[in-house]
Symmetry: D2
Subunit: 283 residues, 4 copies
């Protein structure tokens, strides 16, 4: 058996589901999962489908037929993934180690369906963790003067290692529009607040000052507008007057870890689709 | 426009989704929502579909065709509901008033898509609430001696008022196998614990004694096995050593209210399917 | 037995707890609950204490001694409440009925330790609910022209009915600085977002547009700065791409109900203290 | 400054708080935190107090006075900890690696205030993780025949390394009454269900079979009665019909990690007191 995942979005039209499911039947596939969503306001149709095919299936042919018939008829945007091919993920870090430990721990425990060919950092502090987990670590310092040069080096590495998506595990540098455009909806950030509350720097301090009773963390795709990209996952934890800013930070670390790990998992399993700065997440 | 909801379950087979969605296209319907689930272990297929049809559509004809073609070909169990026809719900209560106030408040605020033709109680205590909300109240005392007679009277009322489903809003009597068989998967109970922990009487006292850090409530369909029916919805709330049994009860009331209201809503909107003592809940 | 609640805050100093607890011992009281908090940043001490006294205790004398000794020595702000005297709460409403039904349901179920002498509204829509629960309802229309006159009438009623605190159960008018200063930290609002995200009008629409995965509700004391007062309680619920704005609103209603009810309970049981636009909430 | 933590429990009596806080004042300490609890049913008083003392304070003398006066007068059970002395924790593991990775990651990120002198396992599978984090690993196989011998070896190591408490990070062997009595309320287990539901083996399979909508994890002290010890912490996560047993297990891993880490933190920071098979947890 071979398994595939098919993601589709297009203008909503009558008969799409029937057409797609009939197509899968015709090419001898068995649908094991199907979920779809219609954004009524925008009139857009989204579908995620998993199917099983015999080992002999010629997917190049299947994709060509799909391209020339359905995809054309319905003007679809679509992606076709063969399961078993793990996406290749680059980790960007700075000095905070909690998300890095968590991701590498889960990776080692085989909970994340990814390859991690490299870690890139603007500081050398976390190199020992990369060594501990045996992942190549590239220290590329970023200063005002070296920003362009540094980014050039980063892009070369991403290309060389055939990276599919990037995870900013508390990476403390702004990503440039250039890199964002090259990895559109493929750079995942973790922000340590319940966005849109407290964007930017020091959200735990702001939350403490405001006297909130709940703090949160948000994982989102990076866009040119700071902390305004499509939200993939959020979660929260209760706080009270008993908690200091230091407590907020400690409780927040737990949230950041969990929320980022969930976002990575969802992205790696091709369960996220982006449209109009929002995500459709098929659980 | 007329809206319909179609619920289907049957043995999982190739091509079901294609067949159903093609059928809807053929009878000039537009699918506005479709969710499906395959229970891989049991090899059962479940589908919930919402569609829009023109006002001229002859649903009797549509249903007949469906019956004679797809339903037959795939050996389907199926239900077809025309939206706008509200299910008729009977409330059974005893002496606790919090769920009753909550349900009648939501009903009055038009949050529940039901009719409530009557309230039945084995005590007279809550009659004034029924009066306050202008719902007919039937006091049918139940003692060992009058149990059979009482149930007979209950069944007559349920029949007379054309009741579709029953909600036990903290009704403190065991429902007999006879009534259960007449309203299979149509009697909703709220149990004040996180089932399967603490079935039976006095769950808050047991939870307190055990020193749990979280208490819960569970809404389920009533079956012959006490507190063992298919679970529709559960929720929890944190407790601590600070809380007394009385606090558990008070916090629990909030849970009971919310969980029961959600279960009623899900059932009334035909989002729940039962199979092998479990529920498929299409949110 | 008579029960009392004592709330204290003052500059943090050595020996306060010893002094207060010794005092209670000396006047023959038994401490049944004590919680305290030190705001290290602001160097402020907060205490909440519950105690039992014999029926013969002369509380006027006790309070006088406390005033002239400890309260003076430590420059305390303090409040002394005799349990059993229920605070008197005014409800302000407009057209939304879900919070009103919920509060009156809980009040009737004796879950809220308050008196509700009156409901004030700028519309007549909810009068029938007030009638249903037998609470006096005052319709005071507010237009640009009648704003001053309306407020004058409101203040007269609040005074006449000896109101201790006001609950805005989705009251759709701005409260004036005058009323706020007369009822400082005594006007409780429910805002239908997870503040500080989405203050102001139409938060559910904004949340939908931003594509958040969690929505919230916030209960806070009203201050002159809109939606910026001290937060008493917050809670959240998950949403997904499946949910429309209408779903957000429906799920939000459940949150608003629950969060407001909890805030009312906490305030009525004198568990909330305000300092520097934040609350200390002793659960 | 030196910081201390004082834990007390005894029969509830008038004047305890006054006596203790006066004592701290008298020995020149400053109370920075105090929380207390009265179990009204059992008539037991619990207190947790943190204080600051000058560097010159002679704690041996302070403890002696406390012992001979207050502790005697009130028949107290008490513990006095000087902050900065980290408790020494032994990890017991078998084959599951997710909790081990998580604990060692947090330990390395300096989130846990403990020493970890050794890891003991009945299998050799996780040795490489211990090596990776540079913690001594002792492989002590346990079979029916070697059980006594193995335990003897375990106890020798615990003694040799001056272990204060033991964490069973998914250790798949029953702890004997002998070891339990030597480390009473000092062995922390993580059970992968929402106890008391689903004790014993394969709780995720049982939860799946029962069709629950929420699964949980529970951390508790080990007692002779399997999965019946005092509960320290619990948490839950939602599941639905979409989730397979494998999904339950994966979601559960996240819960197990988090709940166990919280329990370790609470225990290491001396925030947990045990009484009558329940815990008082001072957050």
């Amino acid at each position: 058996m071979q398994k595939i995942t098919l993601l589709i979005h297009c203008k909503d039209q009558k008969g799409i589901i029937a057409a797609v499911t009939s197509f899968i039947s015709k090419v001898e596939g068995n649908i094991t999962y199907l979920d779809q969503h219609v954004d009524v306001e925008q009139n857009v149709f989204f579908m995620r489908l998993e199917g099983e095919f015999s080992l002999k299936t010629d997917f190049v042919a299947v994709k060509t037929i799909f391209e020339q018939t359905l995809a054309k008829d319905f003007s679809m945007s679509w992606n076709f993934y063969i399961s078993g091919v793990k996406p290749r993920m680059a980790l960007f870090v700075s000095k905070y180690n909690h998300c890095l430990y968590d991701i590498l721990g889960r990776f080692s425990a085989e909970e994340l369906n990814v390859e991690i060919p490299l870690i890139i950092s603007n500081h050398n502090d976390l190199k020992s963790i990369a060594d501990q987990f045996n992942i190549p670590f590239y220290h590329i310092p970023i200063t005002k003067e070296t920003k362009d040069e540094g980014e050039k080096r980063q892009l070369e590495l991403l290309k060389k290692f055939e990276i599919n998506f990037i995870v900013l595990a508390r990476y403390m540098q702004i990503i440039t529009p250039k890199m964002i455009s090259l990895y559109e909806n493929k750079i995942i950030n973790i922000h340590h607040s319940f966005l849109p509350a407290f964007p930017g720097a020091k959200p735990y301090h702001s939350a403490f000052k405001r006297g909130v009773k709940i703090i949160g963390a948000t994982s989102h795709y990076v866009t040119d507008a700071l902390d305004k990209g499509p939200i993939i996952e959020q979660d929260i934890v209760r706080v009270s007057h008993v908690n200091s800013v230091a407590d907020f930070i400690m409780k927040g670390k737990d949230l950041e870890r969990t929320v980022l790990a969930r976002a990575i998992k969802l992205h790696a399993e091709r369960k996220v689709m982006v449209y109009e700065n929002k995500t459709v997440v098929f659980y």
